[in-house]
Symmetry: C2
Subunit: 472 residues, 2 copies
C-alpha cells in the first residue's frame, strides 16, 4: 500500500473516536451539546480545550476507512503537514514579495500538471477554492476569448451565448452561467449514452440547434468523471467538433483528472492534450488536503491575466524591484487566496509520480472488487459496470426480491436507500451517499479512494447495508 | 494585552526565525534553494522534513510583529488551533449530515454578527473564501432582487445595469462586474472627499446620470474602511439615497467591519443596520486565521438560496430524515467549502466580545500613536489624519526636505518608497506596503492590528525607514 503506511489512521485519529464514522445527533440535540452562544466574556482555556474535543467528537470522521459519502476521503499525512504549515505561516498568495515560496511551488505544480496533461507548448493556471470556481473561470475565459469587450461593456448588447455540456455534468456549470449573466437556460444539455457519456452526434445537433435559433455557442464543457456515475465524455471526438465549430473546449476533470497519472487508465482522458482548459482537483482521488483545486489553461498569451486583472495600484505596483510577472494575484478574481498548491507539492515530492499512479490503480482495482462482490451477492444489483471509481448499486431487501420488474417495484425500491441511510447515520457504522438519477430510483454510490481502505471494509459495507435494510 | 498573552510569539515561531521578517531571494535564487521539481520517485522522510523547514524559512513571517504589509497580521492562537482542527477533520460544508458541528457553528457566528450589525429581524449569510467573493455575492443578490429572471435567461435582453461605488472602493467590485457580465464600465465611480469618503450628493448625481442615459442603477456599494486610506463612506446618508431610489445597499466592511465591536468606534459604521448586505472579514482586524470572510444579508425570504441554488439531487436530497434547511451548501456558488466560521467561533468563545472590543480599541490607539510620532518626526509627513487603523505617510530623505512644494519634489518623492521598500525586503527587518493614490506620489501605508505589536516596534519602523532611505 505504499509509503503512506508509515503513518496510519491510528496515529492520526484519537483511539476512542476510531470505531464510529459519526455520532449522530439532530441539529436541536447537537446545539445543546455544543453551547454555541458567543458571549461578552471569554472562557478559560480548559473549557476551550473541551470545546475543541467536542468539535472533533461530533464531527464526521471523513478520514475513517468507512466514510464513502463524498468524492474525497482518507488522510494523506504529507498533505496534512503541508496544510498545517500553510495555516501557521498565514500566507495569502497575491504577490511574490509576500508569498515567495508558495508562488514558486504553485508555478512548479501547475507546470507539472500541464506536462502530465500533454500540453507540449506549456500553459498557465491557478489554484482555486474548489472546482466550481475553476469551471466558472473556464466559462469566463471562453467568453473573453469570444469577445474581450464584454469585460468592459457587459453583455447587454451581446447575442445570446450558449454553453454546451452533458446532462450528467456538475451543477457548477449552471451555477456559473447564472452568476455570469448567461443564464441557466442557455446551458444546453447534451444527451448521454447508457453509461452517462456525452453523445458526440447529439452535441453537434445541439450546436446546430443553438445556431439555428440565432444564438452563439461559445464553449463546450466535457466531463471527465461525472459526479454520480463516474462517466468520461469522449474528449477526442468532442475536440473534433469543437475545432470544426471554433468552440472553447473545457474539461471538468475535477474528479476524473487523477486517471491521467496512470498508464493503465489514462485512456479515459484520451484527447485531453487538445483542449483549451482543464479543472482538476487533487483533493479528490489524489487525497490532497481540502481544498486543492487546479485550473489549467493551454493559452500562452496571458489570457487568464487579461481576463481577470484589475491592476490594483496598492498591490501590483509596476515599480517593484523584482520581475512582477511572479505576482500572480491578478490572475484571480479573488484577492486573498490560500497556498493550496503546497498541499499537493509536498505529497508529490514525498510520494513521487509512481506512488500517485499506484494509488489510482489501486482505487480502480478496489472499485472493480466491489463491483464483482455486488454481482455475486443476492439482493444487490449494479446500476452499471463501473468505468471508473464510482460503484453504483441498488440494495433489494428480501421482501422485494421476488417481485416482477414493474413500476411498483422501482417505486418501492426508491424508498429503501433513504431509510438505510438514516439507519446508517444513526448507528454511525459507515457513510455512503445515495441519489436518484433521471428515471432511476434511489441507488447507493460508493467511491473508494483511500489506501487505508481494505477489501474487508468493502465486504463490511455490503454486509452492513443488508443488516440495516433486510427488514424493509 | 489580554488573554492572548498566554501564548506568545515565542511559542509559535521557531527561535531562529524570530529576528527577520523575511529572508529575501530573487525568484531565480529561491528556485534553486527549493528544488521544486516533482519526480517519478518520492523522497525519504528526512528530506521531506528539510523541505518543510525550508518552506517555513523562506516564507515571509506574516505573524512577525514587524510585518505590516497587508490588512492582516499577527497570530491568534485560538483561531490557529481551530484551523488545525478544521484541516485534520477534513470537512466540507455542504450538508448537515457531513458537517454537523461546523454547520451549526457557522449559523451561530452569522447570527451573532447579524445581531452586532443591528438587524433586529435577523438575516442570513455564508462564509466565503475571501471578501472579493462576498462582494460578488452582493452584486448577484442585488441583481436577482431587481430581476430574478436573469438567473435563467441571462442578461442578453436586459437594460444596461449600473453599480455605484466610490472611486476608493476595492477592486473586487470591478472584477465582479466583469465576471458577472455587467462590465467594468458599468461600475460608476462616485467622487470622494479629501478623506476618501464617498460624497452623497455626488452619488445622487451619478444615479441621475445613469438614469438619464437609459441605464438602470440597481445597487450601491459603500465601503467601510477603504483599502488604502481606511475611509468610511457615510452609510446613513447613502442609505437615505438608496431608499429614495430603491437601490440595494451593500457595505464592503471587509476591513472596517471590526469597528462595530467597539462602543468607541462603531459610529464609523452608523446606519449599517439599514443596509441590505455586508461583507466583513474577521481575518483582518480581528485576526482570525486565513481565510475567514462573512457575507451577511438582511433578507429573510431565502434570497441567498433562491439566487444561488441548483438543487443537485445527489447532495441535497429532499427525502432525508432530518430538517434539510440545515443543508446550507446550495446558498453558495461553491460546492466544496471550508468550515471557516469555526476559526472565528473558537476565538470569540475564548476571548469574549469584550476582548475583541479591546483589541479594536488598542489597534486604533496604536494607529493614533503612530500618527502622532510621524507628526513629531522630521522628514515624515502624514498623507491625512487617520480615521481608522491605516496610517499613510511620506518619508522625505534629507535631500528633499528643503525643496519647495513643486511637481518636481513630488516626482522625486514618488521614487523614494520603492527604493526603501527594496532595501527593507533585502534586509528583512520589516515589511510595509506603499502605493500611489490618484495624484498622490507613492506613500507608505502602515496598519497595526496585532496585540503582539508594541510602541517600540512602531518607533523601530520609523527609525528603520529613515535608516534605509536617508541617503536618497
Amino acid at each position: 500500500t505504499g509509503k503512506c503506511s508509515a503513518l496510519t489512521m491510528h496515529d492520526v485519529i484519537p483511539k476512542n473516536y476510531q470505531k464510529l464514522v459519526c455520532e449522530w445527533h439532530s441539529p436541536e440535540q447537537l446545539k445543546k451539546l455544543l453551547d454555541l452562544e458567543l458571549r461578552d466574556r471569554g472562557e478559560p482555556e480548559s473549557e476551550i480545550l473541551q470545546r475543541c474535543r467536542d468539535a472533533i467528537r461530533y464531527s464526521v470522521k471523513t478520514s475513517h476507512p468507512r466514510f464513502f459519502n463524498q468524492l474525497y476521503a482518507g488522510m494523506e499525512p504529507y498533505s496534512m503537514v503541508a496544510s498545517f504549515i500553510a495555516e501557521a505561516v498565514k500566507t495569502n498568495l497575491y504577490t511574490y514579495e509576500v508569498a515567495p515560496v508558495f508562488t514558486l511551488m504553485e508555478d512548479a505544480v501547475l507546470r507539472k500538471m500541464i506536462k502530465v496533461i500533454g500540453w507540449e507548448e506549456g500553459g498557465d493556471g491557478i489554484f482555486n477554492p474548489g472546482g466550481s470556481l475553476s469551471n466558472i473561470y473556464a466559462v469566463n475565459l471562453a467568453r473573453y476569448r469570444y469577445c474581450p469587450d464584454f469585460k468592459e461593456v457587459g453583455m447587454f448588447s451581446a447575442p445570446r451565448l450558449v454553453i454546451l455540456t452533458s446532462q450528467e455534468c456538475h451543477y457548477s456549470i449552471s451555477k456559473g452561467a447564472a452568476l455570469m449573466g448567461i443564464g441557466t437556460k442557455n446551458v444546453y444539455t447534451v444527451p448521454t449514452d447508457e453509461r452517462g457519456r456525452m453523445i458526440p452526434s447529439a452535441l453537434e445537433e445541439k450546436i446546430k440547434l443553438a445556431k439555428s435559433e440565432g444564438a452563439v455557442p461559445f464553449m463546450v464543457n466535457a466531463t471527465a468523471g461525472t459526479t454520480v456515475l463516474g462517466a468520461f465524455d469522449p474528449i477526442d471526438e468532442i475536440a473534433d467538433i469543437c475545432e470544426k465549430h471554433n468552440l472553447w473546449l473545457h474539461v471538468d476533470a475535477c474528479w476524473g483528472g487523477a486517471a491521467i497519472m496512470s498508464k493503465k487508465h489514462k485512456h479515459l482522458l484520451k484527447g485531453i492534450h487538445r483542449v483549451d482548459s482543464v479543472a482538476w482537483n487533487p483533493h479528490k482521488m489524489l487525497m490532497a488536503s481540502l481544498q486543492c483545486s487546479a485550473f489549467l489553461v493551454r493559452d500562452k498569451t496571458s489570457l487568464l491575466q487579461r481576463c481577470h486583472s484589475a491592476r490594483a495600484s496598492y498591490l501590483f505596483q509596476q515599480d517593484k524591484f523584482y520581475d512582477v510577472s511572479y505576482d500572480t494575484g491578478d490572475k484571480s478574481v479573488q484577492c486573498s487566496r490560500k497556498p493550496d498548491a503546497f498541499k499537493f507539492w509536498l505529497m508529490w515530492k514525498a510520494l513521487g509520480s509512481r506512488e500517485l499512479e499506484q494509488r489510482v490503480d489501486r482505487a480502480l482495482a478496489m472499485a472493480r472488487y466491489l463491483a464483482e462482490e455486488i454481482k455475486k451477492r443476492e439482493g444487490f444489483r449494479l446500476v452499471l459496470e463501473p468505468e471508473f471509481a464510482n460503484v453504483c448499486f441498488w440494495y433489494l431487501p428480501p421482501s422485494l426480491r421476488n417481485l416482477p420488474e414493474s413500476p411498483e417495484l422501482w417505486k418501492k425500491l426508491h424508498t429503501v436507500a433513504p431509510v438505510v441511510k438514516q439507519r446508517m447515520m444513526k448507528t454511525g457504522s459507515m457513510m455512503t451517499g445515495y441519489q436518484p438519477l433521471g428515471e432511476k430510483a434511489n441507488f447507493f454510490r460508493m467511491v473508494v479512494i483511500s489506501p487505508q481502505v481494505s477489501r474487508q471494509d468493502l465486504d463490511f459495507v455490503l454486509d452492513e447495508i443488508h443488516n440495516l435494510g433486510k427488514d424493509l
